[in-house]
């Protein structure tokens, strides 16, 4: 996956199986100054997270092929990497707040990347 130099020291992992959407988000966050890593499944994301401790933001889709979905991944991230900023997104029905990990935000698809970026900045502050 593309590795780009982070200008502000922040690193985001984008977990999304729809490649066209993923590429566009990667472009957007790179331009916003993030170091972007892409994963097309939750399983791949876990491998990356365990390898790369610099990731401070995880933006994940919910429904993806693989052994676990994005919601389980979000809980995993919250448990294993507590400070990580978590954004969960889906085109399907909105999950209940109780199903989401603490300190995470749900964004329905399609979303405005600029608003999500602002949200991430607030959560990271």
């Amino acid at each position: 996956m593309d590795q780009s130099i982070s200008l502000n020291g922040r690193s985001i992992l984008i977990v999304e199986d729809e490649a066209i959407v993923r590429f566009n988000l990667a472009d957007f966050f790179e331009q916003a100054g993030y170091h972007v890593t892409e994963a097309e499944s939750a399983d791949e994301a876990i491998v990356i997270l365990n390898r790369d401790s610099s990731i401070s933001v995880v933006l994940t889709d919910v429904h993806m092929p693989g052994s676990i979905d994005g919601l389980k991944l979000a809980h995993y991230v919250r448990d294993r990497f507590p400070p990580t900023v978590l954004v969960v997104t889906s085109g399907e029905s909105n999950p209940r707040q109780a199903d989401l990990p603490t300190d995470s935000v749900f964004v329905p698809k399609p979303f405005d990347p600029q608003l999500v970026l602002d949200q991430i900045k607030r959560m990271a502050a």
């Binding site: 590429f23 566009n24 097309e40 698809k109």
Partner: protein, 546 residues
Amino acid sequence: MEGWGWQSVHDPDVLPDVMEGWTGAIASGAPFEMVFPLRGADGVFRPFLTRVVPVRDLEGNLRRWVGNNIDISEQVGIEIELRQSQKKLEEANRTLAEREAFLSSVLGSSTDCIKVLDLDGRLTFMSEGGQKVMEVTDFGTISGSPWPDFWQGQGNIEARAAIEAAKSGSSHSFVGRAETMAGNPRWWDVAVSPIRGSDGKPDGILSVSRDITASRENEEARDQLARIVENSADFIGMARLDGTVFFLNDAACRLVGFDRAAIATVTIADFFPPEEAEIVRDEVLPAVARDNFWSGERLFRHFGTDELIPVIYTVFPVTDHDGKRIGYATVTRDIRNRKRAEAQQQFLNDELSHRLKNVLAVVQSVASQTLRQADDLSSANIALAARLAALGQATDVLTAKAWTSADLRELVDRAFAPYGGVGERIRVAGPSLMLLPQVTLAFALALHELTTNAVKYGALSAPGGHVDLTWSITKGSNGEKPRFHLLWQEVGGPAVQAPIRRGFGSMMIERSLRSYFRGEAQLEFPTSGLVFTLDASLADAGSMVE
């Protein structure tokens, strides 16, 4: 008899009459005759006939009276007895007449048809009421005719058997059909018995027929209703007030997998899972008691598999003839199919929403990439419109297969349609293949980018150039999985120069297809013409059409 000394033997009550008669006879000289009681030597009065006649001389002068008294007490006794027995006879006759009148009024008012037959089964008598119900206008016309002839079908056989039975001294009953004399069909309940003579042997036959047409028709109507209940596709059941079940139709037994033989062992609650049984006990049955009716959705339990069966459960009271409640009845409809359809509807609705949002996210990305990489707004406008049109076509192909797959050849045909379609300049070959829905939008976009590029700069931009698009499936050897290969080769176009900048098109073609197909996607730019190859596991691309 000269004097009046005889008065002492007379009954003082009668004496004045005797005196008057005797005085009259003396005065007129006519003979005297009278019956009156006289006291005998024993002091008892007895009836005597007394006759006194005048005796005259030759000149006709009265000389004397000669008389005698005859004791007639015995004759008088006989006469009295005679008069009494005559009176008794009259009384007996009157009683007899009254009884006869009573009996004939009973016969006349009975709505049963009472007949007397001789031992050969011929009609000799028919009651008045019987003539009415049989619509007989003149008994004379049927008197003497064989009674069994009035019966049709099985009734005729029964009637003959009844006659034979009566002749041998026993009674016989049957139900049969016979027309009245006016030709109206009726059902009769018939009792035939012998009439015994003084010697105890049958000397006639009594036949009493009751018109049961109305109750028979009720019975038939009831039978028809029972058949409807039996054959209904709905669950129909009845239970007593204590909940014990006493009737289930076939559909009921089938729906819940219940063996009818065990009907005596089950109660209403057994047809529900525990929590539903509680609701039925605490809410449904009290509502039936209060409102005479309850209807709503509930879950039944299958006796064999424990499967929960959604039903419309309708309950109402069962009453006896006096209107007293004796239990509950239910007509319950299996709504599994409706529930499945509703679930499918809900699922499709959710799917539609999901796909729509997903497609919008893709469109958003395509628009965003197009705008970011365009040199100017005008070319971005043109490129975006063409890309959205390509997405629209792919959506059409997907929708034709309920978004489960997309026909590869169909996608290809649509992509080439604006450029004259498949033919001399666009040569296409490959087996029928259905692409997976998740790769279809990206593949359609890639095909669009390749075609646009070929038309603008490649083999289709100059006369004589053409595109070869071929695909194949190779069956993997040594247990490898089958693979999908696709080759786009441009021939006869202008000399190719590798692009300096990789734009949206090449991103779509290489990076995106690599990701969607989980395989290798390669763009090459030999001067002879652009080449694109895609190589992926068939399972990640789609499936062969059988």
